[in-house]
Symmetry: C7
Subunit: 75 residues, 7 copies
């Protein structure tokens, strides 16, 4: 297996970079990926919350529970 053949390697490569995280409830968060674990719990810094493509709130640091996440993508 090469260096990125596991999904969590992709998360690791995004550490300290800006990512988009989308939730099952339709909300999205964009921020710097500070931390994650095997449950896909993630922590973003300088995070902004989006709803229907518009910024809804600035949240600073936000912990997102893994089981509520659908996708995560480098911005």
């Amino acid at each position: 297996m090469d260096e990125s053949s596991r999904p969590l390697d992709t998360l690791n490569a995004s550490r300290n970079k800006t990512v988009l995280v989308e939730l099952k409830n339709g909300l999205s968060y964009v921020g710097k990926l500070r931390a994650f674990d095997i449950h896909i719990n993630v922590v973003l810094e300088n995070a902004e919350e989006y709803h229907n493509g518009e910024v809804k709130r600035k949240l600073g640091t936000v912990f997102i529970r893994g089981d509520t996440i659908t996708i995560l993508s480098p911005a």
Copy 2:
């Protein structure tokens, strides 16, 4: 890994500080983070419940079951 590279380190750094906790059912709680565990069960003190941005109730101490939480953010 530095000192905050795991999501639960972020929760630990928020202990005894005011945090916002949002649930899958649309309710939010703001209070002092007293305790948490690996399931993200949390206990807030001096907690207030919010719905649609307005205070709905003052609850004092509240135990929130982890699997109902979407995000947690330092206030």
Copy 3:
């Protein structure tokens, strides 16, 4: 860690005291906390069921399955 730094310590401190338990389905129960376990299964005594702020039923002893609970708060 001090004596109440884990969420279940909070539940333990509420044992034999009156608590409010709210469920994902919108129903609430108020009663004396008789027992709980790590799944947050709880047993209340002298429990009353509330819906939209009004007492709906008196249930006496009630076992509540943990995965249906959102919050628990000392009354």
Copy 4:
């Protein structure tokens, strides 16, 4: 801990007694508690199914899968 300090002790004390079991889908069952396990799977005998407070069916023996249960209460 006294003899009933765990939730499953409450279920055990209800064995062979009439109990009410309510499900996430809004249906209720009243019958004699024949058996249960740690998943809160339960078996009732002489069970009747209720919907909106009215008897809908007589089912005799019924196995109820634990993860569909919200509450269980001695009748």
Copy 5:
């Protein structure tokens, strides 16, 4: 404990007998209980699918995934 004090003993006693299985999606199946496991995955033979009390389809052998089941009752 007597011979039927565990819920799966009840399922075992129904093996090769006709049972009713109801699902979270509102569909029901009636057939001969051929097999089950600890997840309550079940296999019925000569199964008929019911919706709102009417036969919808004859399915022959059907494997039903346990986590979709609400109740199971000997017919």
Copy 6:
């Protein structure tokens, strides 16, 4: 126990035969059962997707995640 007394034995007996797989979201798939595992993840070949009894798409090989399945039946 005879040879087919476990649910996964039924799946094994259907290997390389045409089966119907129905999902919680109302979609159905008909194809040759190529593979399955204990989570009831399945792989069908020459699969067609059905919605409301009509073919919606031809998919060829399809991996179906087990926790989204309600029933599986030999065609």
Copy 7:
């Protein structure tokens, strides 16, 4: 068992090939399968998001949490 008798063998055979991934929320993603794990967490590259058959966004690399997936099919 032959070489493809387990569902994850099918995923492995699709590595570095274009696949379609559909989610419980109705969104679909088409991209090159870069990585997957036993939870069916997957990573796609050059991914495009579809809704109702139309491209909604180009996402580049996307991590998809396994428990939100219904099906995965080689394109």
